[in-house]
Amino acid sequence: MKTWQRKDLLGMKDLSAEEILFLLDSAKAFKQIGERKIKKVPTLRGKTVINLFVEPSTRTRTSFELSAIRLSADVININASASSLVKGETLKDTALNLQALNADIIVIRHSAGGAPHFLAKFLKASVINAGDGAHEHPTQALLDAFTIREKKGRIEGLNVTILGDILYSRVARSDLWMLTKLGANVTLAGPATLVPREFEKFGCRVTHDIDEAIRDADVINLLRIQHERQRKSAFPSIGEYTALYGLNKERFARIKPDAMIMHPGPINRGVEIDSDIADSDRSVILQQVTNGLAVRMAVLYLCSGGQKVES
């Protein structure tokens, strides 16, 4: 693959392994920019990026905002609580209004799965999915893959265990679809109420035995319990979840000595991850945040020059 063709980044499900690797390779150049004294390139000068965050987010929004700034784009943030969406305007009308302001790229976070795909159908502007419901979070998956490649040098053949609230996690889905395409052996683990067997049809392994799930893992990706998405409690108490599924020191002592610990954040210390483990040199949680900038810069850059692709 010599060139990137897409104008939108909607999810990992539509991308080929080749496209994913193209994005990851491009992101290396953008990581360098963040390490320089002058952390800015003129590439997207004159382009307008609008962060349309209909669901609250701090880290992803900040990361996209900073990525756009470092590419010299003009960037505006719109938060749901301060927008006309609360006055009854539809998402479509809001998006068309933003396009009428000559926005070139719309980065959208929405609580409904499929919202970015819906916008991409009628907008001329690029649409980047910054998380849609429990569906996809493609740039999080990309930064995960970038971090794994940086540490392990490859993804193919690695045992990756994603542990926790799989059912309500868009990160889990994007990671799963991406990692299986790249040849990793993915295991999903957690309480049966949050890790249904149905996920096996996506080509991964499902287990409810955490000790077995982490024993041979090269990468352990811990997920936060998405309280905001759970309509009824999927387990009796936080304390019980921590005892049965949290990564505590005892379990940590039994994992592979070179296993890396990941977490998309925000972390709940003492719940899904022991506080000392989160701060240990095996944890790459903060490297993930740094790499998020590199992959988001790559996505904004590549999609700004692409064309609409019928999905």
């Binding site: 990137w4 150049a29 320089r36």
Partner: protein
């Protein structure tokens, strides 16, 4: 398509040897200039020039590689995006004489992009330009300090530089449509 051989392995090597001597002569007041090759073909040319400079000066010559994709001015004109490469400049450009090395000097737009990319890394003492071939048709006020060969061309002709490190052979050809 009609192709004319402009330089072969021997003439390319002679041109680079002469350019190396010119670089030394021009920068006699300097401890040592640093070479920065513009990807892709400028990189092996910079490495070859560096080896020749090291022979003449009897000391190490800092050499780097520059990717200018993010500084190009034709983002709007392309329908698809090429891969972005990394830059590798393992020295501080501030205070150095930087000799940018490119294979062909044409419109001058790559040189402009390279100058912007280098100055984002620091403040060089000065920037000079070495090109194996200058084919004219400048669109910006840019000129080369060191030229391997001046080749008069028509706008619609193409100059192809092939180098052993990238293409398996050394030659420069002019392709006429």
């Amino acid at each position: 398509m009609n192709t004319v051989l402009i330089m072969d392995a021997t003439t390319i090597d002679r041109a680079l040897t002469r350019m190396a001597h010119e670089i030394v002569e021009r920068n006699a007041d300097q401890e040592s200039p640093a070479l920065v090759g513009i990807r892709t073909h400028g990189v092996p040319l910079a490495q070859r020039l560096a080896r020749k400079l090291q022979e003449i000066l009897k000391r190490e010559v800092p050499t780097g590689e520059l990717d200018i994709s993010l500084h190009r001015d034709d983002l709007e004109l392309r329908g698809a995006m090429p891969r972005v490469g990394t830059s590798d400049i393992p020295f501080d450009v501030t205070g150095h004489t930087i000799v940018l090395v490119d294979d062909v000097l044409f419109t001058g737009r790559s040189t402009r992009a390279a100058m912007d990319a280098v100055t984002e890394l620091g403040r060089p003492l000065r920037i000079q330009l070495a090109a194996l071939v200058d084919r004219g048709h400048r669109e910006l006020p840019v000129r080369a300090d060191f030229v391997g060969k001046n080749v008069p061309t028509a706008r619609n002709e193409r100059v192809r530089v092939r180098l052993i490190e990238v293409d398996g052979q050394d030659e420069v050809v002019l392709e006429k449509p």
